[in-house]
């Protein structure tokens, strides 16, 4: 399975079985430690000179439990997703989606958006690459909406801090939103609203294709998983600390009645306000979700909070500025309108259902 060129004989090359053993041992150790996190947090809090049931005590216990919990969940899931993503690539996804009809194409595209490695810094080349290879515009949008919105960091944080039901709901609604919004944009036939030069490329010659590499071995994929953990932690650890610290303060200090009045389900304007507020805010899932948890704990309506979160993640100003290179303002406006209404519908529906 391992096929190495002579120059690739790395000095630190370990046999495959050692890798498998290492991964198994890591998962076991992870599980044993994860079981004991609550006890450890309580024990640590008890060491501090604060009353456990005071505001400060509540906030500290919350922080000491949530930070390691989230970090551990993130490590495991990001690693697993890193390994899973090594089976996908934007090039393969493009080939799968090229020439797909709307409808099924949107469904596939949203799903692949979750599984394909994606960095928002390559959103523009990816967009052009997709459209020029015959991926329909609406199908491309389904990918571009799903990829940042339904990501493992958001799902892990929701799962770890709020509960699996909310994480599952977010996954389902996020995918549905990407599928429907992409489908609607496709039906509107807005290909003419791309920037002129994008249309020129579209009608031009097909771009060269990357040569097929050798299939990576399983240890290669483990290495990619580890790289993903390192990369994501480097980017989000500070956001998580800040977010959980802020969440802990809300948890310990903000009175419930205030939050219910502002973000409870009764106020009809709360969902639209949450969507609008979310657009200029730019943070990744890591920063916003700990706050979300604390808000929900204090009685904010779930739909309102979900709408806020989706708006922050899916409709960010910096991303618009990046996409401005390929889309005309009119097309960006349509994009915001379609995705914004979708998020609004998710929020309102959710508040009605639960």
């Amino acid at each position: 399975m391992t096929s190495h060129t002579p120059s690739a004989a790395a000095p630190a090359h370990r046999p495959d079985w050692l890798w498998h053993l290492g991964v198994a041992a890591f998962v076991l150790a992870w599980w044993l430690l994860y079981q004991r996190l609550l006890a450890i947090a309580e024990w640590l809090t008890a060491l501090l000179p604060v009353d456990r049931h005071s505001h400060a005590g509540e906030a500290i216990a919350f922080f000491l439990y949530d930070v390691p919990k989230v970090m551990m969940l993130l490590t495991l899931i990001v690693f697993v997703m890193g390994v899973v993503r090594s089976y996908f690539s934007p090039e393969k996804t493009r080939a799968l989606l090229s020439g797909r009809r709307e409808g099924l194409g949107n469904v596939m595209s949203a799903g692949l958006g979750v599984l394909t490695p994606f960095c928002s810094c390559s959103a523009v080349p990816l967009f052009i690459g997709f459209v020029s290879a015959g991926v329909p515009l609406g199908v491309t949008f389904s990918f571009l909406i799903a990829a940042p919105m339904v990501n493992e960091v958001a799902l892990v944080l929701l799962f770890g801090l709020v509960g699996w039901q909310v994480a599952a709901t977010y996954l389902a609604f996020g995918l549905a939103l990407a599928i429907i919004a992409g489908f609607v944009i496709g039906k509107l036939q807005l290909e003419g609203w791309l920037q002129d030069w994008v249309r020129e490329i579209q009608s031009g010659a097909a771009a060269p294709v990357l040569p097929e590499g050798e299939t990576p071995s399983l240890p290669d994929r483990y290495r990619l998983g580890i790289e993903a953990v390192r990369e994501i932690f480097g980017r989000v650890w500070m956001w998580i600390l800040l977010g959980i610290a802020l969440g802990a303060l809300i948890h310990g200090y903000v009175p419930e009645a205030l939050m219910v009045r502002i973000m409870g389900a009764e106020a009809w304007w709360s969902v639209p306000a949450a969507v609008v507020m979310g657009i200029p805010m730019y943070t990744n899932a890591a920063g916003v979700i700990p706050i979300v948890e604390a808000l929900i704990g204090k009685g904010a309506a779930l739909g309102t909070v979900l709408a806020f979160m989706m708006s922050v993640i899916a409709l960010s100003l910096p991303e618009m500025i990046i996409l401005r290179q390929v889309l005309t303002l009119r097309l960006i406006a349509v994009f915001i309108a379609v995705v914004g209404s979708g998020i609004l519908a998710v929020g309102v529906l959710f508040n009605l259902l639960f």
Binding site: H4, T5, S7, A8, A9, A10, S89, P90, E91, R94, P117, F118, C119, C121, S122, V124, P125, L126, I128, G129, F130, S132, W197, I201, A207, P208, V209, L210, P211, L224, E227, Q325, V326
Partner: protein, 78 residues
């Protein structure tokens, strides 16, 4: 002289890739000229849809994520 092109909008990983290229070249004793292409249009025209992308002597060899150091040396030496 080997010419290497790094395609990427200037994100951190693109910088790291460029540095890896010059380090690998220094190690192999190969003279390289590194060109950075940051314009989204030019990146797309070269057929790169996930950055950083890497071309050696005009041939695209890698796209998406950091290149494997061992493979990188292989491309440069070829």
């Amino acid at each position: 002289m080997t010419s290497v092109t790094v395609y990427g909008p200037g994100c951190k990983r693109c910088e790291t890739t460029a540095r890896m290229v010059s380090e690998a070249a220094a190690k192999l004793g190969i003279e390289v000229e590194i060109e950075k292409v940051t314009d989204a249009r030019a990146i797309a025209m070269a057929g790169v849809i996930s950055t950083p992308g890497l071309a050696v002597d005009g041939r695209l060899v890698h796209a998406g994520g950091l290149p494997d150091p061992a493979k990188l040396e292989g491309w440069l030496a070829a």
